[in-house]
Structure formats: structure tokens, C-alpha cells
């Protein structure tokens, strides 16, 4: 589902964020990505989202070589991937419902369909009663769940999360992780970048460990 083939990324500043990195993530797999700050976790996610381009090597997502995707294709590619951010990236000038509906509107879902999917997504994260609230009125954990609902509302095949529990206490973090596991069981490929080793070591999933842009554990096909 996601394949990195000897991928290197050097930023304009000269910093090597990834070095000859190869990995393979199966469909419907849940994989954790860990490592110190600056080890290349964010860069790896950005390459999958085409927010950055690799300097060398190939990135293949959903069977497509990302190097061949250009212009308007990038937007289409992003529609097929759900993303959850550490700082939620919600829009505070609209309701929870409208936040979750945003990717559906952009992807061109039908009006009826949108209502159904938004409510289904909010139901999954346990926030169905908050659809009319402003995200600002919600707690950090709830805001993160809105972010997750937005990421999964269009039912993408791939779900990426960048430090989704970064600002949450352990109980809330475990709750969020349980959500991701549920999505993985429902057929979504999930890749989560996180620092929280204590939490993920209990979860019995593959852990990719990055160090200075190279994979030191967990790579290769299972």
C-alpha cells in the first residue's frame, strides 16, 4: 500500500532528513513510526502527502509512483488520504459538522451522502452530540477526535497521523489509539508517527524506528 524504495531527502539547507530509506506497509496494516525529533518522521509523512518531494528513490502509494503525480493530481491524491495532525488544524470559524464535511465537499460527495458520512464519522469518535458546537468550545482530546473524524469521513484507504496524542494525557491517548486500531480493522491502512513508546509498545503492532533518516528497526515486508 505504501512503499519507499531507497528514498533520500535532502533539504535545501543541506540537511539529510532521510537516507536510502526502504519500507513496505501492507494494506490494512497499522504501523507506528517512531524516533527522536529530527529523525525524519515528519519528512516521511510529508513525502506521502506530496508536501515535499524526495531527492532520490521512489515512493509508491496506492500503486502509484508519486513522482508521476503533478499539478491537479496532487489534490486528487490528497483526497485519497486522511491526515490527523498534532495541533488538530481545525477551522474555528465554523462548526464541528462543517469541519468534518470540508474534505467531503472538496471531493464532491453528494449532499445527502455528506450528512450521512459526517454523522457516521462523528459517531465513531463519540462526538455526534457536538456537531453544532464550535471546535474552540471543545477540550483538546475532543478537538483531536474532530480532526480524526474529518480524516476518516471520506473513508480513505490510508490514514496518516502525525503525533496525534502529542498534547493529550495517557488516558485520552489510549482512547485515540484505540480509535486508530478500530479503523485499521475496518480496512484502512494506518501510519502513526509518535513519540509515545510506552503506549505503542503495549499495542502489538509493527514499529518502524528511524534514526538520523535511516530505518533501524521494523522495516521490510512482514
Amino acid at each position: 500500500m505504501i512503499e519507499f524504495d531507497r528514498v533520500s531527502k535532502r533539504y535545501d539547507s543541506g540537511r539529510d532528513a532521510l537516507r536510502e530509506l526502504s519500507l513496505f506497509i501492507e494494506p490494512e496494516e497499522l504501523v507506528f513510526l517512531t524516533g527522536h525529533s529530527g529523525a525524519g518522521k515528519s519528512t516521511l509523512l510529508k513525502l506521502i502527502m506530496i508536501m515535499e518531494r524526495q531527492t532520490r528513490g521512489r515512493v509508491i502509494v496506492n500503486g502509484k509512483d508519486l513522482q508521476t503525480i503533478k499539478g491537479g493530481g496532487i489534490a486528487k491524491h490528497r483526497q485519497d488520504i486522511g491526515v490527523v495532525f498534532q495541533d488538530h488544524q481545525l477551522l474555528y470559524d465554523r462548526t464541528v459538522y462543517d469541519n468534518v464535511a470540508l474534505p467531503l465537499l472538496i471531493s464532491g460527495f453528494e449532499h445527502r451522502d455528506i450528512g450521512r458520512r459526517v454523522r457516521a464519522a462523528l459517531d465513531k469518535v463519540g462526538l455526534l452530540d457536538k456537531e453544532k458546537s464550535n471546535p474552540e468550545a471543545l477540550s483538546g482530546g475532543e478537538q483531536q477526535r474532530v480532526g480524526i473524524a474529518r480524516a476518516v469521513a471520506s473513508r480513505p484507504k490510508i490514514l496518516l497521523a502525525d503525533e496525534p496524542t502529542g498534547n493529550l494525557d495517557p488516558a485520552l491517548s489510549a482512547e485515540i489509539m484505540a480509535l486508530f486500531r478500530a479503523f485499521s480493522r475496518a480496512g484502512v491502512t494506518v501510519l502513526i508517527a509518535t513519540h509515545d513508546l510506552a503506549l505503542i509498545s503495549r499495542m502489538q503492532h509493527r514499529i518502524l524506528t528511524l534514526k538520523e533518516g535511516a530505518l533501524v528497526a521494523g522495516g521490510g515486508r512482514e
Partner: protein, 324 residues
């Protein structure tokens, strides 16, 4: 918090979309952008109104000027273009001699018709014009000569000059009156007015582009976060650009309407004095002109300017806002 079995089967890609579906989406996106634009402009109605007023004022300058120029040009086109020449006969000539001369002139190629104005007729006209009784004027003695008025078939400058020269050479002719100077002065003024109008049109276009450009630049900047998020969840540039184009359209249309309002107010305010002036000259054709076609052109130009300014500004600004 359990994902249903249906979630598994429903997980699907949203890439390959048929044309009809894409068209529906496209229309939906337009409707969303319109709705978004209107509600935003409504929420910030004071700044919306101010921008529209500024645009309107700027656009009303060339509009008002063009009204003046059009009025002047229409008046010039209809005014007696002086297509007649008055030949003043020598004092020594009798009326019958003048009549013979006039018959000679009637056969000239450029001349359509001739009419002899005797010195008595001339005095009559003068006394009427002065408002004195002809007897009083006649008692002072009649200094006026006989004259011949020639109506011409053409007003071509060269032909006219040749004719004037030919007429002047005749020893029986005291003077040839061809009052062209006022006409050429008026034409020069009209030309000046027209160029002034175009200069103002150019200035107003530039000013409007800058006003809209700056307004949209600020609008894009204030929505930076939203743009980043929408791009991250799969919005393309067209989707992000659309609300700003609609904003430019709205500003242009509102600015154009304000300009029309100002122009028509000026027209009705100046209408009275102009009518009085026209009446004093007994020239009914002299009225302020601002035809509907011009009003339509003004509105269209304002909308095009609004969208163009918005497009250029947003395109430049959006390039700087890419998720990183």
C-alpha cells in the same frame, strides 16, 4: 467507538470520477464559493461598503468626464457647422451688380445655393438682433454692404481654402467671411476633453486594480490557515481561488453600481443649468448624455476589473501558501 463492518466495504477511492459527476461537483463548488463570499462580505459589511465606495468614486471620475465629452461632441456634430461663406461686396456695387455676381457663384461646383442679402435686409436683421427699431437705426445711416451667402456642398478644408482664395481675388469682393476659427477651437477643446477622459480612464483602471489587488491580498492573508487546511485535505488551486474571484466580482459590481449612482446624480444635478444654457442659445440638442450602453460598459468594466485584480492578487499570494 467501534467501526462497523460496512466501513470496510465502503472504503473506496474517490479518484476516477465520470464527467457528469465532476460537473455536478464543479457546480456545487461554485455554489459554495458564492455562498461563502456573500456571507463573508455581509459579515464585514462596513469594509465591503467602503471598498465599493472607493471603487465607485474612482470609476465615477472617468464616467462623469465621458458624459461631458459625449455631450460636447454631440453638440458639435449638430451645431451649424458653418458650411456657408459670406461674400461681402464692395461698397461701390449696386444690388443688381451683386445679383449678377451671385448668379456667377451659383454655377461653382462647391456651391449648393446662393442668396443675396441686401444692405437693407442686413440692417433689418441687425436692428432685430439689437432690439432697436429699424427706423432709428436707419436714421443713423446704413454702413452695411450688400452681401451674398453661399451654402456649400462640402466642408473639406482644402477645397474651402481654394474657394476662399478664388473669391477673394475678385476685385468686386471686399471680404470673404469664413468663420471657421471658433469651430476649430471647439474641436480642439473636444479633443482635449476626450484625451483627458482617456487619461482618467487609464488612471481609474489602475487605481481599481490596485484597490482590489490589495483588498484581496489582505483577504487571502487573513485566511492563510484555512487555505492550508483545505489544500491538505485535497483542495486544488481552483477551489481555493474561487471565493476570491467571487469577491472580486462582488466588489466590481458594487463599485460599478456606486459609480453609476454618482454619475446619474451628477447628471441630474447639472441637468438644470445645462438646460437653461441650451434654452438661452435656443439649441434643444444641447443636453447631458450618458447612454445606457455606456452605463452597461461601465458596469462590465468594473466587474472585469474586480475579477482581474482579484485573480492576479490571489494567484500571486496563493503561491506563497503551500502546506510545508
Amino acid at each position: 467507538m467501534v467501526v462497523s463492518k460496512a466501513g470496510r466495504t465502503a472504503a473506496r477511492s474517490v479518484t476516477k470520477v465520470p464527467f457528469a459527476r465532476r460537473f455536478v461537483t464543479w457546480r456545487l463548488h461554485h455554489r459554495l464559493a458564492r455562498h461563502d463570499t456573500l456571507s463573508r462580505l455581509g459579515r464585514h459589511w462596513v469594509s465591503t461598503l467602503l471598498t465599493a465606495l472607493v471603487m465607485g468614486v474612482v470609476l465615477s471620475l472617468p464616467a462623469a468626464l465621458s458624459m461631458g465629452v459625449l455631450t460636447l461632441e454631440a453638440a458639435l456634430a449638430q451645431v451649424d457647422r458653418g458650411d456657408s461663406i459670406t461674400v461681402v461686396a464692395h461698397d461701390s456695387l449696386t444690388l443688381s451688380q451683386v445679383e449678377v455676381l451671385s448668379e456667377e457663384y451659383a454655377s461653382l461646383a462647391l456651391v449648393r445655393s446662393v442668396s443675396v442679402v441686401s444692405k437693407e435686409q442686413a440692417l433689418d436683421e441687425l436692428s432685430q438682433w439689437l432690439g432697436l427699431s429699424p427706423e432709428v437705426l436707419a436714421s443713423l445711416g446704413n454702413p452695411l454692404p450688400h452681401s451674398i451667402s453661399l451654402t456649400l456642398t462640402s466642408m473639406q478644408t482644402e477645397a474651402l481654402q481654394a474657394l476662399t482664395e478664388q473669391l477673394t481675388h475678385n476685385p468686386l469682393v471686399a471680404d470673404v467671411l469664413l468663420d471657421m476659427e471658433w469651430l476649430s477651437r471647439l474641436q480642439a477643446i473636444a479633443l482635449f476633453g476626450e484625451r483627458l477622459m482617456w487619461a482618467f480612464v487609464a488612471i481609474a483602471l489602475l487605481a481599481c486594480l490596485l484597490i482590489i489587488g490589495n483588498t484581496i491580498r489582505l483577504a487571502v492573508e487573513s485566511r492563510r490557515q484555512e487555505i492550508l487546511v483545505t489544500k491538505l485535505v485535497g483542495a486544488n488551486n481552483a477551489y481555493v481561488m474561487r471565493p476570491f474571484l467571487y469577491t472580486g466580482f462582488a466588489y466590481g459590481a458594487a463599485g460599478g453600481l456606486v459609480a453609476l449612482l454618482i454619475t446619474y446624480s451628477v447628471k441630474s444635478w447639472l441637468g438644470g443649468p445645462i438646460e437653461a444654457l441650451a434654452n438661452s442659445y435656443q439649441t434643444p440638442y444641447f443636453a447631458l448624455r450618458f447612454p445606457l450602453s455606456l452605463a452597461f460598459a461601465l458596469l462590465t468594466a468594473a466587474i472585469v476589473l474586480g475579477m482581474l485584480g482579484a485573480w492576479a492578487s490571489a494567484r500571486r499570494q496563493l503561491k506563497l501558501i503551500e502546506p510545508r
